[in-house]
């Protein structure tokens, strides 16, 4: 077990390094120069040269990369050009919002997917099953920003029951906070549920063929008990892993959703940084998000191996 763990961590570190390198290289794609971008068109060549020297931009690229990486490892992601605030500080301040969004979205997605999947599994091959599977397939063709617009139109514009924007911190106003998250979380959940449902459905169909389900029926147990206790439990392992893997996709989705619904999360930070061409923040957010993505996937892998011993021994 420890050997497996060590091997996997050994794989993780080079990936993180590669991610950091790529992020850095992307930043260096900027046509022109960071200093030039900061000072603007009117800057004199001497001012630009001076700033370049101060920022270490006249050093060779490998030096700059190592210097930057060193800073990162010490927690120094640099400072925003516009506001001067610490990049890491800005990220961490907005992290809770994004996390809350992702958590609520995952819960909502599961709440939709589980009952639907169970219905499909019971009805396997029948009308309801085909209908729901078809709907899930069609749903894959609706991107999350479209759903966002649709939900806003229905609930905020027509029915006026939910707010389209307006975030309140949880500490201040529990209910208001959750209200503000309903539409955004639903938007992401609608993007999630087809994938979750499909996986759970096929897993449950397989489970329902098992002998122990036949015996449970022969014991005269209530259908609800058979479904929830005997059938759902063995299938839930797959569900947990898929939900975990999905977190990566959720991260991309939060960027759009936070933008549309004006939630002060990391996604919105990135978009705002792009609009204002605040490259330090952009670079910091990309690195943070990518590294987080890698680490989450790694943890999900670990969890899966923990729960299924065969994976551990296969390597």
């Amino acid at each position: 077990m420890l050997g497996f763990l060590a091997r996997r961590i050994g794989y993780l570190v080079p990936v993180l390094l590669a991610v950091s390198l790529l992020t850095f290289l992307i930043a260096s794609l900027l046509p022109g120069d960071l200093a030039y971008a900061m000072l603007g068109d009117q800057a004199t060549p001497e001012a630009v040269a001076g700033l370049r020297h101060d920022m270490g931009l006249d050093r060779p690229i490998w030096w700059r990369y190592l210097h930057w990486l060193g800073g990162i490892l010490q927690g120094d992601f640099g400072r925003s050009f516009r506001t001067g605030e610490s990049v890491l500080g800005a990220i961490l301040a907005r992290l809770p919002v994004s996390l809350e969004l992702m958590l609520l979205a995952e819960i909502a997605g599961l709440a939709i997917a589980i009952p639907l999947a169970m219905q499909c599994a019971i009805n396997s091959g029948g009308g309801v099953d085909r209908l729901l599977t078809g709907v899930a397939f069609a749903k894959l063709s609706i991107p999350n920003f479209m759903i966002a617009i649709l939900l806003i139109y229905i609930f905020a514009v027509e029915l006026r029951v939910l707010p389209a924007t307006g975030y309140v911190p949880f500490a201040e106003d529990h209910l208001g906070n959750l209200r503000a998250f309903v539409l955004p979380a639903l938007t992401l959940a609608f993007a999630e549920w087809p994938v979750l449902m499909r996986v759970l459905r096929s897993d449950m169909i397989a489970t329902l063929q098992e002998d122990y389900i036949a015996l449970a029926k022969a014991k005269g147990l209530k259908p609800r008990r058979i479904l929830f206790v005997h059938a759902l439990k063995p299938s839930s392992l797959t569900l947990v892993t898929v939900a975990g893997i999905n977190i990566g996709r959720l991260i991309g989705g939060t960027v759009i959703v936070e933008s549309v619904f004006a939630l002060p999360g990391i996604g919105r930070l990135l978009i705002a940084a792009i609009y204002t061409r605040d490259f330090m923040i952009m670079q910091g957010v990309v690195l943070f998000v990518a590294a987080g993505f890698v680490i989450v996937n790694f943890l999900v892998d670990m969890l899966y191996a923990l729960l299924d011993p065969r994976i551990r021994h296969a390597h």
Binding site: G134, S141, L150, I152, G252, G253, Y275, M282, V286, F293
Partner: protein, 291 residues
């Protein structure tokens, strides 16, 4: 669902060899038809007698459909129909060109990795995996921000981001075919590696790749749409469906059609490509199994 024909046939017969129903479902033809219509409109956009998609008419903002403007005008007085059709042109251009990059580059890399194995394979797979370590939308955003917002850049960026997926598909196909008898036979007859790659492998790998290509087109339209929706994709005032949806957001109360017309067009097109791609994938994959 388009795949159900094959599934049912396989399940019913209970045999390892799958017989593919040659009859393609109605849904497939409807989808292909829609794609054809959109393609035709996009290609002939200049020839059609359409108002300019970028002419603003501030007096006629958000007008409902009329004889002059068949689908009304948007929030800056521009003709919706023209914007939809020219938007189709741009969305499809990016939608087809970007995955094409992925297909050519990724497909080649994948085939090489799957066929030649060894160190080359490890290098290719590792490099490609690094790209996959980034959430794709975030990477696309960052790259467009650094490189500049143009349609060309957008195409290259999304194209490059699609390379890993194509590599995987090509490699998996190649791995499953490379050990078949006809490849060994060709080698025994003294064929060069290049010849084997081109003559034996390519025709068999190309089928699942094309199916995947169609699915990738659907995804690309969505990604470009998302970027344009945020204002960070196709640069205004050039029309694109995603951008139109984003612009329509502020007019939801007065004229929801401004957002929903392009949304409908995008949905139908993405759905169509998904259906066609999925049907082809269902056909090509089992065929490989029974080879």
């Amino acid at each position: 669902m388009p795949t159900s024909d094959v599934d049912i046939a396989a399940a019913g017969l209970g045999e390892s060899r799958v017989r593919i129903s040659p009859r393609l479902p109605v849904l497939f033809w409807l989808a292909a038809g829609w794609i054809g219509v959109v393609l035709a409109l996009a290609l002939t956009a200049d020839l059609l007698a359409l108002p300019s998609p970028t002419d603003m008419d501030m007096l006629d903002k958000r007008m409902p459909p009329s004889a002059v403007h068949w689908l009304g005008t948007d929030n800056l007085g521009r003709d919706m129909l023209a914007r939809l059709i020219f938007g189709a042109r741009i969305s499809l251009t990016v939608g087809v060109a970007a995955p094409l990059i992925g297909l050519i580059v990724g497909g080649t890399l994948g085939m090489l990795a799957g066929y030649l194995r060894g160190r080359l394979e490890t290098i290719i797979v590792a490099s490609v995996d690094v790209l996959l370590a980034f959430p794709p939308l975030v990477l696309a955003l960052a790259l467009t921000a650094y490189l500049g917002q143009t349609v060309a850049n957008l195409t290259y960026i999304i194209g490059i981001l699609s390379i890993p997926a194509f590599t995987r598909v090509a490699r998996a196909s190649t791995l499953s075919i490379a050990n078949r008898e006809f490849v060994l036979a060709a080698r025994a007859l003294g064929a060069t590696e290049a010849r084997i790659l081109a003559r034996e492998l390519l025709p068999n790998v190309i089928l699942p790749l094309i199916a995947f290509f169609l699915l990738a087109v659907a995804v690309t339209i969505v990604v470009e749409g998302a970027l344009s929706f945020l204002g960070l994709g196709v640069p205004p005032p050039a029309p694109s469906w995603g951008g139109m949806i984003g612009e329509g957001r502020e007019s939801l109360e007065i004229a929801p059609r401004i957002a929903f017309l392009p949304a409908g067009a995008m949905f139908l097109s993405v759905l169509a490509f998904n259906i066609v791609g999925d049907t082809l994938r269902a056909i090509t994959d089992p065929r490989q199994a029974s080879l």
